[in-house]
């Protein structure tokens, strides 16, 4: 079970090769969410020296281990007062209620995995885009076209997220680049833990492009950092121009919006200006490009954006500082 969302049956499907040759590693990590199993994770490069390895996924962001200094905490005078425990004061050997400070974000487990992924990707100069959208916006078609046009310039790998099937990964592999399908089972989004496993298997080369095609869903993927460089939200002109207002978090989390299916604009009632205004209202810094995966219209601007940011990513890996 996934530690973050509890989705039951996430699987990483085998077969990363260009022609889909199996490379083993078809596991369905069956750990419960309150586990402390220890299995080797080489995507945890940070700060392992001072913490207990058995806690896979334990967050590192609280500087205060109560267990380390073994005294009871009776916090009186807090905003929320439980009567400071039944006893009110600490008496050795006397059982009493006590307050344990936790001060952790509920999403801290995912955040820790995402940090590890990001450190790993940044160190190797891998420019990573997390593509998010509603189902049917044309993410996979856009990706196939982009890969065909950019594969001569960059090594490219792809992580495909869907609830079921490996159809999308097969479409990507048909272009000749390695793709790994992650099935989230009951889950509605990819999380950083799944992506960490996918990176172990896929092993993207240094200074490459990594595309993560998230589960088609405009809600949940916004909240789950995967360790990507940027989120790219894809919206097609066959959807409503008020989608940025209906699902604002996704548009707020993204750095780039691609308005896809521009070739259909003459046939649909889609108010492009209103759509852009709505998107900028929830995210004043959002960059917007109008494209068509079918005709290729507007894609050179997207490629230029990728090349500029990918150059920065590989420079960062060399210099080590932003």
């Amino acid at each position: 079970m996934c530690t973050v969302c509890g989705c039951g049956t996430a699987t990483v499907e085998a077969g990363t090769g260009a022609a889909g040759e199996a490379q083993g590693h078809s596991h369905d990590h069956p750990h419960a969410h309150d586990h402390d199993h220890s299995h080797d994770h080489d995507h945890h490069p940070h700060d392992q020296a001072h913490h207990d390895h058995a806690h896979h996924g334990h967050s590192h962001d609280h500087g205060h281990h109560h267990a380390d200094h073994g005294h009871d905490h009776v916090h009186r005078g807090e905003a929320i007062d439980f009567g400071a425990g039944l006893a009110g004061v600490h008496v050795a050997g006397l059982d009493q209620h006590r307050i344990v400070r936790i001060e952790r974000d509920i999403l801290s487990k995912n955040a820790a995995f995402a940090r590890a992924n990001r450190a790993r990707l940044t160190a190797r100069g891998i420019f990573t885009l997390n593509l998010v959208s509603s189902p049917g916006s044309g993410k996979t078609s856009l990706l196939v076209r982009t890969i065909l046009d950019l594969t001569v310039r960059f090594p490219i790998t792809v992580i495909e997220g869907d609830q079921q099937t490996s159809n999308d990964a097969e479409r990507i592999r048909a272009t000749g680049v390695p793709a790994l399908q992650v099935n989230t089972g009951k889950g509605c989004h990819l999380d950083a833990h799944m992506v960490g496993h996918a990176l172990d298997t896929l092993d993207p080369p240094p200074a490459s492009l990594l595309f993560i095609e998230n589960v088609g869903n405009l809600v949940c993927p916004a909240a789950f950092d995967l360790g990507e460089t940027h989120k790219v939200v894809v919206l097609s002109v066959t959807e409503g121009e008020d989608k940025p207002l209906k699902y604002p978090d996704m548009f707020a989390a993204a750095n780039l919006m691609l308005l896809n299916k521009a070739d259909l604009l003459p046939y649909v009632d889609f108010d492009m200006t209103a759509c852009m205004a709505n998107a900028l209202r929830v995210n004043p810094r959002l960059q917007i490009l109008t494209v068509s995966a079918r005709t290729g219209e507007g894609l050179p601007a997207f490629y230029a954006w990728i090349e500029a940011h990918a150059a920065t990513a590989s420079a960062l890996a060399v210099t080590g500082t932003p």
Partner: protein
């Protein structure tokens, strides 16, 4: 959003912490939830009862502290109150506001025995 998923993460952290502290029971858990966040407190409570069943936190009380919404208005150059997610600045009426509070999803503490 996906309260069941969040609750499982919440209970995971609580149980992990409880085990580390060698406590016998978790009596209450205190959360800080942003007033203009995406979480529905009622839904969280419903899930909490279900997810804690059979764990050290079974039957624990869930206390939710609401954190009011606030944002930094880029045009006014100051912190303003927000009552709506991605809402307008109450002073200038424009939408150039970055949320700075009200989106919390945090476990503050737990009461244990």
């Amino acid at each position: 959003m996906h309260e069941l998923a969040l609750t499982e993460s919440l209970v995971g952290i609580v149980v992990e912490e409880a085990r580390r502290q060698h406590v016998t029971r978790v009596n209450a858990v205190v959360l800080e939830i942003g007033a203009i966040g995406q979480v529905v407190p009622e839904s969280l409570r419903f899930c909490f009862d279900a997810v804690t069943r059979g764990t050290i936190a079974e039957g624990a009380r869930l206390d939710i502290v609401t954190v009011p919404g606030a944002g930094w208005c880029l045009d006014c150059g100051k912190t303003v109150t927000l009552t709506e997610r991605f809402g307008a600045c109450p002073v200038c009426g424009r939408h150039h506001v970055q949320m700075t509070a009200g989106d919390e999803l945090r476990i503050r503490e737990m009461e244990v025995t």
